[in-house]
Structure formats: C-alpha cells, structure tokens
C-alpha cells in the first residue's frame, strides 16, 4: 500500500459538454420594465378614481367621522376624509372626497345633509343609521349649476327628491309652527316643501321659502293662495285634523290656468272657504240684518247642504247686508227666480197652548246658522248667476210646504238623446145620453212615432163605443177621423195609424228609442211640449202595479199632463206615458207585445 502522492491525485476530469451560447445579460429586464409600468398604472388608477374634494359646513356634526360615506340614491359616491371644526368653532367642516363618476354633484345648488335616525310624527327616516354608520346624503342641484366645492349643509333631508324645482316665497303674519321640511300639499299630495322659515327684518312677518318640484311649478302663478293647514274644529267644519298628529303642512289653491308665473305670495291666514266649484251658481242675498249668516255657513234645501256662503259684507251704501253664496252645479236648477231664502239658524222655541215646541235645523246651524231656501210649487225660470234674493229672518208657514218637482240633478240624457215632443190632441165626438145628443171631448198628449203611428192614452184614441157619427181628432192643427179599425189598444194605451196625417214639421219619435221592459220603476222624466220643462219623477215615488206604475205623490202633475211621454233617465228611451185618471197619476209602460 503506498499512499498516493499529492502529485498523482486521481481526481476525475470534468466532462466538457457543449452548451448553447450563454448570454451574459438576461431578457428578464423586460419584467422589471413591465412592473414599473404596472405600478405606475395602478397608482394612477387609484388616484384618478378620486374626483374633487368638497367642503360642507354643518351646524352639527351628528357623530360623522372620517371614513363615512357620501351616498346618493343609496350608493356610495364619496368618502369623508376629514371632519374638523371651523376656526371660529361655529360650524363643522366636513371634507368629502368625491368619486370621479360623481364629480358633477359638486355644483351649485346641491344639498348635503347628514342622514341619521329621525322619527317624528310626520316621518320616519334614516333608520338604517341606527345600527349602521351615519352617512352623508346629497341631492344634486340643477344640472346647469356652476361647479363649486364649498357647500352649506342642511339639517334635515329634503322630502322630495326631484332635482328640478323652483323656489317661491310666501309671507305670513303668523308662522303657526311651520318648520323647515314641512310639505306643501295640493290635493292631498306633497308637491313641495318648506326650505326656510325666517322672520323678516322688522319682525312683522314670517317669510317662508318653499321649493316646488316637478309639475308643481305651475302652482307658482298669480292668484294661487297658500295657507297653513292646521287643526280647526268648529261646529261648521272640522278640518286639518291630520295635522294634529301628522305635522303642519302648507296647502295651496292654485290660481287660474292662464295666470302669469309669480314667485312671491302673501299667504292666507285661514284656509279659504271651499273654492267655488266648477259650474256652481253664485247668488247674492240681501238682508237688513245678518241673522246668523256667516262666511262658510251652509246653504240648505230641505235641510240638505247644497252650497255655501262665500262672504258676508255690507252693501256699498251700507243700507243692507250682502252675502255671496254659491249653490253646487247639480243643485242649481233648484234655485228659481221666485225662490225664497231665509235664515235657518238658531233654535226656534215657541210656547203655546199646545205645548212647547222646539225646532232646530242641523247642529251646525244651531251654532253657526245657515241659509235655507225653498222654491214654490210652480217654479219660475232658473236663476242666473249673480241673481239677487231677499233674505228673510224666518220662513213663512207656506214656504215649508212647497214641494216643486224640479230635476235636482242636471238632466243629462245619454247619447245626447232628444226629448220627445208630444202633441196636444183633442178627441171630439157626439154621444147620446138620456136621449140628448151631447158633444163630448177628451184631451191628451199624443206622440208621433217614426212608423207613422200616434201613441197616446186609450181614452183619447178609443174614447167610446157608442159615438154618433165619426170621432174627430184634432192634432197639430189638423183634423183626423178616428177610424176604429186603425186603432189598436195596448192596455191603457193605444196606437192610431192615421191615413191622411201630414207629418211634415211634426217631429216623430224613433221607434228604436222605445223600451218595453217596464218591470221595475226607475227614475224617469215626464215630457210634454218643448215649452214646459220636463218633470222628473224619482223611482222612489213610483210603485209598480202590473204594467202601471202609480205615482205616490202627484204634486206638480195634473190633468194637463195626461198622455205626456215618460222617458227613462237611464238611457233616454221612451218607457211609457203618464196617465191621469180621477186625480191619480200613473205611468203606463209600453207593453211588450206591441206591434211595430
């Protein structure tokens, strides 16, 4: 064993292989370059997603802190970066970093408020912030507002989130507890809201600024009246009770449609008496004393309220009292030129031999009075707007018994139906009684139908069996001979087909406008000639007795109406004729089996 000498070291020789040409530098520097660009891009992106910073000043911070968000329509569009007191400690300045996509809320007119739980009688809002964080909300100003970064925050959120709005100013003598945020309602819905309530400089009035949104800006026109709705309980009316628990609100009664726009108004202290409804009849009452007539008291007819007194004042020469009142359009036909008006106010207590009598109208008229009126049984022409009436202290006995039949509603027949025009007819004949020849006659209304037949009461068209000679029928200036075999009897009615009747100038009633199913009494209209107003008969005063409907109270009807056409109010069709027999009125409906 010989130890190997250092000079003969049996180290293996490394194998030499060929490799591809090695580069002394690397391509990986591209990665570095890409990383640099990537980093720059990321930083630029995150910086660029920030929009402008705005500063909002609030009177109160409400616990807002850095990191809270600014929301618009529920989504975050910015973040509070700083909440500091202003140097004078008067306000809290909140710096908000807007996101780029919402940068345009930083414009003049935008309103910012701190959303927080708010539970009041009129509204509950911001409940999500009870558990969650407070947040800022914004309502952007008008789209054409200039860009700005300084804002004054508002305390309470605006109720209406319509960005389009206009502001009006209303002056009141009394604020009635109106607060910023109270709504302006028109026809019961909020159309605007109070944005500020300020005393004016000399402390004599309250200036209320109201923002009207959306279509409501049309309310800002001449003649619009604004008042503070508040609870009011009087015997005449109870109104505004919703404001007892629901908070005050402003109400508005718009001016005329074509009025000029206006933004400054003087508010009304009390709600105006109900506006004069469309189509109402306005009248003027004269009296020597007030006798309980007051603004707002009802105008009654048979105790039913049909209108209202609008105002009470002295006449221009001071000699009498003048009251303006209106009667609603559907009752205006009740007021005739010969109507009488009297005070329905107070209590009438009379003590007599028969005892003690106590008469009072409605409860409200006890305390507030009222105006009652009545129209005589023979109603005069319809009263015109502005008509003057005398106003009596108390009614005469007789007035209370008047029961004229006047269509209490506007006679509106469907399909523009025409009224039938019956013609007065007289049947004359000679008859032998007790051995004497006597001339007899019977009168009634006949209606010409479009098939050439005359429709009328049977006792006019078939008056007798034992006439001596021909029965003559005078109608429309012509004389016809009633030939028995051309007359057809239909119960209490009859038709006559004349041969030589000149129907020119005589309007005929269309046969298609005749109805045969007169089973149930219905509201109908008794029509005679065109000079007389049609007399309505309510279904309630009719009683069916076979094909006849008896009229319970025949007031206003007489023998003169015998044979008058009766048309249904429902559809304007002829349903029968009014017959008058021995002082009793009844409507004979047209039988079904009538031949055309």
């Amino acid at each position: 064993m010989n130890t190997p000498s250092p000079s003969h070291v049996p180290f293996p020789t490394a194998v030499v292989v060929s490799t591809r040409t090695a580069r002394s530098t690397t391509r990986l520097w591209w990665v570095t370059l890409a990383a640099v660009f990537g980093a720059i891009a990321l930083i630029a992106m995150s910086l660029k997603s920030h929009g402008p910073t705005v500063v909002i000043r609030f009177a109160e911070g409400h616990g807002l802190k850095t990191g809270d968000v600014l929301r618009f329509r529920g989504i975050a569009i910015g973040e509070v970066t700083e909440v500091v007191l202003t140097p004078d400690l008067g306000r809290v300045a909140v710096k908000v970093q807007l996101e780029l996509k919402a940068a345009h809320v930083a414009r003049r007119g935008s309103q910012f408020w701190i959303e927080r739980p708010r539970v009041s009688l009129s509204r509950v809002s911001g409940l999500e912030t009870v558990v969650g964080a407070k947040f800022l909300s914004v309502m952007p100003g008008p789209g054409d507002g200039l860009t700005t970064t300084e804002f004054e925050g508002i305390e309470s959120p605006p109720t209406l989130s319509e960005p389009e709005s206009i502001e009006i100013t209303i002056r009141y003598h009394e604020g009635h507890g109106l607060q910023v945020g109270d709504p302006l309602r028109h026809r019961g819905i909020a159309v605007g809201e109070v944005t500020s309530v300020d005393l004016n400089r000399d402390l004599s009035a309250v200036t209320v600024r109201v923002r009207l949104v959306g279509e409501a800006h049309h309310l800002a026109r001449e003649g619009s009246q604004f008042w503070v709705e508040r609870p009011r309980v009087s015997v005449a009316e109870v109104r505004g009770l919703d404001t007892l628990v629901g908070g005050r609100y402003l109400a508005v009664s718009p001016g005329p449609d074509d009025a000029k726009p206006r933004t400054e108004f003087d508010g009304l202290e009390v709600a105006p008496v109900s506006e004069v409804p469309v189509g109402a009849l306005e009248i003027v009452l004269h009296a020597s004393q007030r006798w309980g007539v007051d603004r707002g008291v009802p105008v009654t007819y048979r105790g039913l309220r049909v209108g209202q007194v609008l105002s009470v004042g002295l006449s221009s020469d001071g000699t009498s009292l003048e009251a303006r009142a209106f009667v609603e359009s559907r009752y205006r036909s009740l007021v005739r030129q010969n109507s009488v008006f009297w005070s329905a106010s107070g209590v009438d207590v009379s003590v007599g031999f028969s005892g003690f009598q106590f008469t009072a109208d409605t409860l409200s008229s006890i305390a507030q009075g009222g105006v009652a009126f009545a129209t005589p049984a023979e109603p005069g022409p319809v009263a015109n707007t502005g008509q003057r009436f005398l106003y009596a202290k108390s009614p005469q006995e007789e007035w209370l018994t008047w029961q004229p039949r006047i269509a209490a509603t506007d006679i509106v027949l469907p399909n523009d139906a025409q009224l039938p025009v019956p013609h007065r007819a007289v049947a004359r004949w000679e008859e032998r009684s007790f051995g004497f020849r006597r001339n007899r006659e019977r009168t009634g209304w006949l209606l010409l139908l479009s098939n050439g037949q005359l429709l009328g009461p049977a006792d006019v068209l078939l008056p007798t069996e034992n006439a001596l000679g021909p029965i003559l029928l005078e109608i429309a200036g012509q004389e016809l001979v009633l030939v028995a075999d051309r007359v057809k009897r239909l119960g209490s009615l009859a038709t006559f087909r004349p041969t030589d009747f000149q129907a020119d100038g005589v309007s005929a009633w269309k046969i298609t406008s005749v109805r045969h199913d007169g089973d149930e009494p219905e509201d109908c209209l008794v029509v005679t000639d065109s000079q007389t107003t049609p007399i309505p008969i309510a279904a309630s005063s009719l009683q069916a007795r076979g094909p006849m409907w008896d009229v319970r109270s025949a007031t206003g009807l007489g023998v003169a109406n015998h044979g008058a056409a009766v048309i249904a109010m429902k559809d304007g069709r002829l349903i029968g004729l009014l017959l008058f027999d021995r002082g009793k009125a009844s409507i004979a409906t047209i039988p079904v089996n009538r031949e055309p």
Binding site: V9, P12, T13, A22
Partner: protein
C-alpha cells in the same frame, strides 16, 4: 489544469479548459461548473426580478388592498394602514410581528438581493454577511402568508360583510410572485464568481 470542487456534491474535479459554447459538468451529479458568465447571468436575472418586485412592493403596501363594508361602515385599508390600525387598537405584539415579518423583511430581502446582484455598494468584505442576512431574511419574510390571510378573510367573511379587493391586490400578487422567482434565480456562487474568475 485546475482543481475545483463541485458545488453540489463536493467531488473535486480537474477542470479542463473550456472554450466558448462549452461548459464542464460534474461526473457524479452533472452539475455545471460555473464560470463567470453563468454567475453574471443568474445575478442579472435575480436583479431584474428583484427590481420588478421592489417596484411593485410600494403600490402593494400603500394602496388600499381590501374594502370592507359592514352595516354601512366602510373601511378601506392598505397593508401599511392596516398594520398601524393594529397598533392603534393596542395589539402591539401582533402589530410588531406583522410589521416586521410582512412589511419590513420582504422589502429588506429585495433590497439586499439587489445589492448583491446589481449594486455592489458594500465592500466585498461584507458580502458574506450580507448574503447570510439575505438567507435569514428570506426565511422569515412572509409576504406570501399575508396573501393567504386575505384569502381566508374572503372565504370566511364573504357572506357577512361586503368585501372588495382594492387595486393593491394585483400589485401584491405580482410582487409575491416576482419576489419568489428572484429568490429562486439567485445563485450565491455568483457573488464570488468574479473572484474565482479573477
């Protein structure tokens, strides 16, 4: 004729002359006997990747990485801010651990890698210690662990809170990947290759 130990298995070889396009390999483990060029290449690769990671490190740490929204409380935090939040909430120990191991160590490792491979600012004497420091730091730098923590957060809290990743996440992921590749490419022999070749 020159003797050189294989840096992998330790077998001593006689190195024949190698011309360009050739290299000597160990007879036992087939490791390549490095010459200067390979070392330089590894160094420049490492330097490139480390530089990229270094560049991306700053957006990853400074830009908001998660946005958490819970009951209207919105919180966007970057890694650095999040760490300082830990201090603010009094978790000093956890704060220090996170700050040191996940924020400071990774960046130090990258800086040291750059120094070793590219800058050579320090005297050669200190290279050995710098290298050892790099080794130790790499072991304890836990940037990638944070990534795991973020994933856990996403999985566990996703249904409870609104959870969004911020722009830093991209930078962060790229930074982690680049940093790992840089460590992988690093060839410690390259540090002394110059001496050898000299």
């Amino acid at each position: 004729m020159k003797l050189q130990a294989c840096h992998c298995c330790g077998q001593i070889h006689e190195l024949p002359e190698v011309s360009a396009g050739e290299s000597a390999i160990c007879t036992r483990c087939q490791s390549v006997f490095s010459d200067g060029s390979q070392g330089r290449r590894a160094a420049s690769r490492t330097a490139a990747l480390a530089a990229a990671a270094f560049v991306l490190y700053w957006p990853a740490v400074l830009l908001p990485i998660v946005e958490i929204e819970r009951l209207g409380h919105r919180h966007a935090a970057s890694l650095l801010i999040g760490t300082f939040d830990l201090f603010r909430h009094g978790s000093w120990f956890v704060g220090v651990v996170v700050l040191v191991f996940s924020i400071v160590f990774p960046v130090m490792k990258l800086v040291l890698l750059l120094e070793l491979c590219l800058l050579n600012l320090l005297h050669r004497r200190h290279r050995a210690s710098t290298y050892r420091l790099t080794e130790q730091l790499g072991r304890w730098s836990m940037l990638d662990v944070l990534l795991l923590a973020l994933l856990v957060m996403l999985v566990k809290l996703g249904s409870l809170v609104e959870f969004h990743f911020g722009p830093a996440v991209i930078a962060f992921v790229a930074c982690v990947a680049l940093s790992m590749s840089a460590s992988f490419c690093f060839d410690p022999h390259a540090i002394w290759d110059e001496e050898v070749s000299a």
